[in-house]
């Protein structure tokens, strides 16, 4: 703990995980709001317009906290990861500047119009403002994922004698195959969060017996989008991502699965506790051969174990990586099952009688947040011990002049600030939920 690297990593992990709780709802919800407003325009049915209005209010709150918690992210590249910035700024600065110019200006200019301007703009222009927020928030994701994809799978670059990175091909950098799979997977996961939240609010109102018409509409939109998104997260996007990890980050795959021995017909483990000291998985329950098929599409494919990888290249926290991956995959599988049942029951007209299912849908809302977080932890812990995979070690990227005491101090400050923000956010969102879709809860 006297090592500054520990504090730099913990602070970045904490601030980025906390921040991403907000954009993951923003991006998915922007899409659902556009769908609702589009239906309202097409059908002229006020039910859709009212639903969109409610979700725009939640969106505004969520967006505000997303903006506020996003402020530290870019700064920390310079404050805590100065060596990384100095070495790769010419590359990652490209996408971070692009994000500012093409995503943030668009979002910030149209947010006020979306949240406050419905009467002033009229239905068509207001719909356009919703589309602007959708485009802006999804573009922001594009640039961040391209930046991360370079760290996961560097392409199109060269290094000079001092180790400074520079691009040889901008298009190779922007069209990194890793970024494509990661973006598709991430955006579908964001849509899972948004559709589970919309579903849960519908279920909540229905169970309370309030705003039944709006509750039904939210259940319809939420379960339909939720089923599609849950399925797409797993296949093809998750599958694409897994195959890239298997091909380019064998150490990450081995650690995700707690796999020490190499060999073909590799078992996928559903349950088990990695025992790194003895290099084995304790109490394993698994299905033979499935890992070989999932990772390489070939039952005979060899899946390398950690024993055949130098220990200096092992991920630094194998236990946490293993559980992150298993939590993500386990929850993702449950999501498909839950949403499949919900869609089936709704189609048959049974959903409203099945209070247990409504309860399950209501209580499911936090879990996509956990799954999204676990997914990103899998990506980022799997990348260790590298900052830029295979090229630059994490220890080489931290600021040389910032001591553990300074970083610990600011982490404590961030923790306090985020506790207050989280409390305020929950109070305000809770108020909107209780107040429901009729009129505004503001300015009371």
């Amino acid at each position: 703990m006297g090592d500054p690297l520990f504090w730099h990593r913990l602070q970045f992990a904490f601030t980025i995980i906390y921040h991403y709780l907000f954009p993951q709802l923003t991006m998915g919800l922007a899409l659902l709001i556009v769908v609702m407003k589009w239906r309202a325009l097409k059908t002229g049915d006020d039910t859709w317009a009212k639903a969109a209005r409610f979700w725009v209010r939640i969106f505004g709150l969520n967006f505000a906290v997303g903006v506020v918690t996003g402020i530290p992210m870019e700064f920390q590249f310079g404050t805590n990861w100065a060596r990384f910035s100095q070495l790769t700024g010419g590359i990652i600065g490209q996408t971070l500047a692009l994000e500012g110019l093409f995503a943030f200006f668009l979002e910030s200019s149209f947010l006020a119009m979306l949240v406050w301007g419905e009467k002033k703009l009229g239905p068509r222009k207001h719909f356009a403002a919703a589309v602007a927020l959708l485009v802006g928030s999804w573009l922001s994701g594009v640039f961040i994922i391209i930046t991360n994809a370079f760290m996961q799978h560097p392409v199109g670059y060269t290094r000079d004698a001092d180790g400074v990175f520079s691009l040889t091909s901008v298009s190779e950098y922007l069209f990194n195959p890793w970024a494509f799979a990661q973006y598709a997977h991430n955006q579908m996961a964001s849509l899972v969060t948004a559709s589970f939240v919309v579903t849960a609010v519908g279920a909540f109102w229905f169970l309370r017996g309030t705003y039944l018409e709006q509750a039904r509409l939210n259940l319809k939109v939420g379960t339909t989008a939720g089923f599609i998104a849950s399925a797409l997260v797993a296949f093809p996007t998750g599958d694409m991502q897994a195959k890239l990890v298997a091909k380019h980050q064998p150490a990450a795959l081995a650690a995700m699965e707690g796999r020490f021995e190499s060999g073909p017909r590799a078992t996928i483990h559903l349950i088990g506790q990695p025992n790194v000291a003895e290099r084995k998985l304790d109490n394993p329950i698994g299905v033979p051969a499935v890992l070989s098929i999932l990772a390489f599409g070939d039952i005979g494919a060899n899946v390398t174990g950690l024993n055949d990888i130098p220990q200096s290249e092992w991920p630094t926290n194998i236990e946490l990586l293993y559980y992150s991956f298993h939590v993500m995959v386990g929850l993702g599988t449950l999501f498909i099952g839950l949403m499949a049942i919900a869609v089936l029951f709704r189609w048959k007209g049974w959903l409203e009688q099945q209070r247990w299912l409504l309860w399950a849908l209501m209580l499911a809302a936090p879990f996509p947040y956990i799954a999204n977080t676990a997914g990103w932890m899998t990506a980022e812990l799997g990348r260790q011990p590298w900052l830029v995979y295979g090229v630059l070690r994490t220890a080489e990227g931290a600021s040389p002049t910032v001591h553990a005491g300074s970083a610990a101090f600011t982490l404590i400050g961030f923790t306090g600030l985020y506790a207050v923000l989280g409390f305020v956010y929950l109070v305000l969102v809770g108020r909107e939920l209780l107040h429901g879709p009729e009129g505004e809860a503001h300015h009371a």
């Binding site: 506020v68 404050t79 010419g90 200006f105 006020a112 600011t410």
Partner: protein
């Protein structure tokens, strides 16, 4: 090419100072010019639709600095670690206050966020001015391109350097005062009634204080770290003097006064940039270790092709601003 990027990145920081600058000034003034809840909502309404977009200039400028001058961002942010993180906290507090304040009617809730808004708006320009002071004065850069500074330095002219010392604090006070005055011209333009009258009544004091601090800060700069007197410096001085003259003589024409104030703030930034050029971070006491536009520049296809998207990106941002201002024209009652 690196010289061009010096001015392009400088332009983005200038846009941030001019645009977000009046937001800060409004935040500093709001507790004085607005007493009732109605008046405070009027003040927040006067920056509500624009403040977030204005702040994006900082994010875009930061990203562009990372792209064009990675060594500057790395050395500057890590060397000034605590002041930069404090500025981040102030920016967060401020953003949250503007956006969340009016969601609850409780006077206690609103009082809390009003104070947070004031504090955040005060601290950001103060700390950014301090950071600018450090860049102008010079920092103890090593051959590795990094530096360490204690948070507090000496309060006498020839003592130990600190991130916060007499000179950098003087810079911080000048920036804060200049932006407070700048904010008063925006309030005069965008509000009416009591709020506007109070903002206008404060202007003589704010302008005099800004002028005094400008003279003090300028004189101190010539003693501490004499600027290079190139074209950029004189253009900056000309803009500052011209802008100040418009503000003082056209005070009753709110739009002209505000635009004059914008030119004054921009002139200050151009003066600082011109006085530094081509240095981006001055080394002290070893000027040969200074980071310059050339030796801090990044290389490769990334920066070479960046103008292709930078120019349309900035034009697009200006277009959005124009669109928002058009929809937001007139006074906030």
């Amino acid at each position: 090419m690196p010289e061009l990027w010096f001015w392009l990145v400088g332009l983005m920081f200038t846009a941030w100072a001019v645009l977000d600058g009046f937001d800060f000034g409004v935040g500093i003034l709001h507790r004085v010019v607005a007493r009732t809840d109605e008046e405070r909502r009027q003040v927040i309404g006067a920056i509500g639709p624009v403040w977030d977009g204005n702040e994006v200039w900082l994010v875009a400028a930061g990203g562009s600095t990372l792209l064009a001058f990675p060594k500057l961002l790395a050395a500057g942010f890590s060397g000034l670690y605590l002041p930069v993180i404090f500025a981040v906290w102030a920016l967060m507090l401020r953003g949250a206050s503007i956006e969340l304040r009016s969601h609850l009617g409780s006077p206690l809730w609103r009082a809390f966020f009003d104070n947070a808004f004031f504090l955040g708006s005060l601290l950001v320009p103060l700390l950014m001015g301090v950071a600018l002071g450090n860049v102008l004065r010079g920092v103890p850069l090593t051959a590795a391109g990094y530096f360490e500074l204690p948070l507090f330095g000496s309060w006498t002219p020839d003592g130990e350097l600190g991130a916060l010392d007499w000179y950098t604090l003087l810079c911080g006070l000048f920036v804060t005062m200049a932006l407070t005055a700048h904010g008063s011209t925006w309030l005069a333009l965008k509000t009416d009634g009591v709020v506007q009258a109070k903002a206008v009544a404060l202007q003589p004091k704010l302008f005099i204080a800004t002028g005094v601090l400008w003279a003090l800060g300028g004189a101190a700069t010539f003693i501490v770290a004499p600027p290079s007197l190139g074209v950029g410096f004189w253009v900056g001085i000309a803009l500052s003097v011209g802008g100040a003259a418009v503000v003082l003589t056209r005070r009753r024409h709110e739009l002209q006064a505000f635009l004059g104030s914008c030119v004054f703030v921009a002139g200050q930034l151009v003066t600082a940039l011109g006085g530094m050029f081509p240095v981006v971070l001055r080394a002290r006491p070893t000027p040969e270790l200074s980071l310059t536009a050339t030796n801090a520049a990044s290389r490769g296809a990334g920066i070479d092709g960046a103008l292709i998207w930078w120019v349309p990106g900035v034009l697009l941002a200006a277009g959005y601003l124009w669109w928002v201002l058009r929809h937001f024209r007139g006074r906030v009652a």
